[in-house]
Amino acid sequence: MRLLLVEDEDAIRSALDRALRRWGHEVMAAADLATAKALAAERPPDGVISDLKLPDGSGLDGVRLWGVPFILMSGFASFDDAVEALRLGCVDFLTKPVAMQTLQASIGRLGDRCRDWDLCLISLEGGGSSLIRPVPEGFDEQQIAVESLEWTHPEEAYRLFEEIGSQLEGKRERQLLAELMQALPSGRVVVNAAAGWWRAWLAGTVDWQADDGARDRRAVIADLADRIVERDGGMAVECVRTRVGS
């Protein structure tokens, strides 16, 4: 994986840089947010490992900007920071000093997340109806439930929503699905409910500027989701299943 390492303490950055390279990763190391932004703009990373408190900002700012799986490290983590990191889909929130073994395990999870996300996009761009094709090596299919919902009338969409909605655990997921399904009068949503994650693909282009209703819906979806990727032909929405306050 190509990892962006952001750490202002020279000794820690060097040690982590060496360890990451030893574990077979390509590393782009930065001592501050500005350098990290420049490096990421040049070559987008697969994942980020960042200190929370940086000389020119917060690691969370970078995370919001880059939108890739990330690990945060901090010696002064507050509860609010941890909650915000979780809300943004942080793979791990590590307290410094970080044991190398712990970091290695976290990077393993980061890699899973990266592969998962790539897989999602590859499948979607291919126009497939499932998010789990092709099935990667070592992938436990039993842990994933995929539902493809297609409708041609709003009434049909509602019936389908009622069917699958009852299987969703949280209010947040249920509302997100409802908003997505109402964004298009006819269309397709693919829901992939993995352990701890929930992801949907809204096939079809939505004109969010069309009217206030569409803009309202866009705002709600953006608020409920941790990550939205809009591409030709549709939109992918991802959120962590459990969120404080949901």
Binding site: F161, Q175, A219
Partner: protein, 96 residues
């Protein structure tokens, strides 16, 4: 909206994620609302200064974030007290 309607309370309830017929009233009691979809925003936006009571903090945050022109009250008693001074219709006139 006339002043007689100040006593009308519409009690919304349940999972309002999909469009349903909306009960109208001088006051909307949202204490039994589980979740509210964005489809209802246009309806609320067309009723500026609509009085609302009982919304859970999460729901209130959602509606405030949407910038809807609602009047928030802690309880029905508060609405009635407010009505003694300036009625909703009078208040609406002030803003016209």
């Amino acid at each position: 909206m006339n002043d007689e309607a100040t006593t009308t309370i519409a009690r919304w309830q349940g999972d309002m994620l999909w469009p349903v017929p909306i009960a109208e009233g001088a006051v909307i009691d949202m204490s039994a609302v589980e979740a509210l979809g964005s489809w209802v925003y246009a309806w609320l936006r067309n009723r500026p200064r609509q009085a609302v009571v009982g919304a859970a903090p999460e729901l209130r945050r959602q509606l405030q974030r949407a910038g809807l022109p609602l009047l928030w009250y802690g309880s029905l008693a508060e609405v009635q007290l407010a009505a003694v001074g300036v009625t909703p219709s009078e208040r609406a006139m002030l803003w016209e």
